[in-house]
């Protein structure tokens, strides 16, 4: 197995509340893992720690062979794509096209390639009709697809998806399902979800959190 994220003896507290306790976890590149657990069990915090958004009190997180303490957010972002629980929090450009082309533009990608890659994503996520639409007028499902599309344009090696099925109707959920089945052949995925059926359908491995500790880590 090709290990990608390694979490060792990790403790984390937020606002003086212990959220994660002694977490030891290895996530692999060619694996679809899911984190499940009740509200407040620390699922989102775990995802944010793996991405370096939140800093731990003690313990280490390694991405590849590098400790996240030595990596900046942009450096982590080039390796890991993180989908926020609320897509509103990560959509910042005024139009769908701008949102998708944002990272490529600042990485000085030639316009023709930007156009081509954005169009591919618009096709994949059925957002063609909304190419020039305002991002503020999109439905929750459209925002969710746009956010995932924007992350994928960054060519991440690993994806952390926090509740990606929230706000999706059965048809869109099915489409996301198909997309993840394809993606898992190219990138590692950590899914944080309450959607039991979705988790069971996709996961190679299910990690169960309760009160900040891993109480179960089994193959599916």
């Amino acid at each position: 197995m090709n290990d990608f994220i390694r979490i060792e003896k990790l403790f984390c507290s937020l606002n003086n509340i212990q959220v994660l306790r002694n977490i030891n976890l290895t996530l692999y590149k060619n694996e679809f893992a899911s984190v499940v657990g009740p509200n407040g069990s620390g699922k989102t915090t775990l995802g944010k720690i793996a991405t370096g958004i939140i800093k731990q009190d003690s313990g280490d997180v390694f991405i590849g062979d590098k400790n996240t303490r030595d990596l900046s957010l942009p450096e982590i972002g080039r390796k890991i794509g993180y989908l926020f629980q609320n897509p509103d929090r990560q959509i910042f450009a005024p139009t769908v096209f701008e949102e998708l082309s944002f990272a490529l533009k600042y990485k000085k990608t030639p316009s023709a390639i930007i156009e081509q890659r954005v169009n591919e994503i618009l096709d994949t996520f059925e957002l063609n009709q909304l190419k020039n639409a305002s991002t503020y007028s999109l439905s929750q499902g459209e925002k969710q697809r746009l956010a995932i599309g924007a992350i994928l344009l960054n060519d991440p090696e690993y994806l952390i998806l926090d509740e990606p099925t929230t706000g999706l109707d059965p048809k869109r959920k099915n489409e996301l399902s198909k997309l993840l089945s394809i993606l898992v052949n190219h990138v590692g995925i950590l899914l944080i979800s309450h959607d039991k059926a979705f988790v069971l359908k996709h996961s190679h491995r299910i990690i169960e959190l309760y009160d900040g500790s891993i109480i179960n880590d089994k193959k599916n």
């Binding site: 991405t51 958004i53 900046s72 957010l73 942009p74 450096e75 982590i76 972002g77 080039r78 890991i80 794509g81 993180y82 926020f84 509103d88 929090r89 990560q90 959509i91 910042f92 450009a93 005024p94 944002f102 990272a103 600042y106 990485k107 991002t135 503020y136 924007a150 992350i151 960054n154």
Partner: protein
């Protein structure tokens, strides 16, 4: 005890400090006002460390503004000149320092207000006959502020997670990024305000001026003492500025 000083007294203190900061032009007087503000801030146990942390990012902007203020004033005696061209004059240095002092006075005034419990501050404003509409708007604004800060932080994080190192971008692109950070937060705030107004109206709430409150503020001896000191000190500073310095 000190922390329980009536918010109206704190408002008056801040009003005096910031007015003196705007009216005075001499650096020595501005420095005195700043030091008095700092002392009051310490007595009221304001979180100065937090202020330093918050302004750390824009600190360099202040320095740039002070330098710009200094070098564009041509009057006064030459202090620094390069190849026969005067770069800095005594007047320029004075104006630059005065600008810096004014910014510091405003910031220190902010820390004094921040020691007020927001509920008490709003009640203070209402008891000072501020129309309830404005007091209500202020209280809602205060409640939403942490949320907006969190949204700003999340947007910044989202941008960085796209692999963009903002610090390494040229200035023009950095300014562009700032618009990307603020626009969604403003749009979100507008949308939240719309939903909130609908929600409060659905519950039959109207911001009528004639209303009672479970919390009413009363001046204590400490408040009267603080008020007297504030008036005396303000008068003394005005006199010193006028006649002695």
């Amino acid at each position: 005890m000190i922390k329980k000083i009536d918010p109206r007294v704190k408002l008056l203190i801040v009003m005096c400090i910031s007015s003196l900061g705007l009216v005075f032009t001499k650096v020595s007087m501005l420095l005195t006002v700043f030091l008095i503000g700092l002392l009051i801030s310490r007595v009221l146990k304001a979180d100065l460390l937090m202020l330093l942390k918050r302004i750390r990012i824009i600190l360099y902007l202040f320095v740039v503004l002070v330098v710009i203020q200094s070098i564009f004033i041509r009057s006064g005696d030459s202090l620094v000149s390069l190849g026969g061209i005067t770069v800095l004059t005594t007047e320029g240095l004075g104006r630059g320092l005065a600008y810096l002092m004014r910014v510091l006075i405003i910031l220190i005034s902010g820390t004094i207000i921040a020691t007020c419990d927001m509920r008490r501050l709003i009640q203070g404003l209402v008891q000072m006959k501020l129309p309830y509409d404005f007091a209500f708007m202020t209280s809602i604004g205060v409640k939403f502020l942490p949320l907006l800060m969190e949204e700003l932080k999340d947007t910044l994080t989202a941008i960085q997670l796209r692999g963009i190192d903002i610090n390494s971008l040229p200035v023009k692109q950095r300014i562009e990024i700032i618009s990307y950070i603020f626009t969604p937060v403003f749009v979100g705030a507008m949308s939240k305000a719309k939903k909130l107004s609908l929600s409060v109206e659905c519950r039959g709430f109207r911001a009528f001026d004639n209303r009672t409150s479970i919390l009413t503020l009363k001046f204590s001896t400490v408040d009267y003492f603080a008020l007297t000191i504030t008036f005396l000190l303000t008068a003394a500073l005005i006199a010193a500025n006028q006649y002695f310095i």
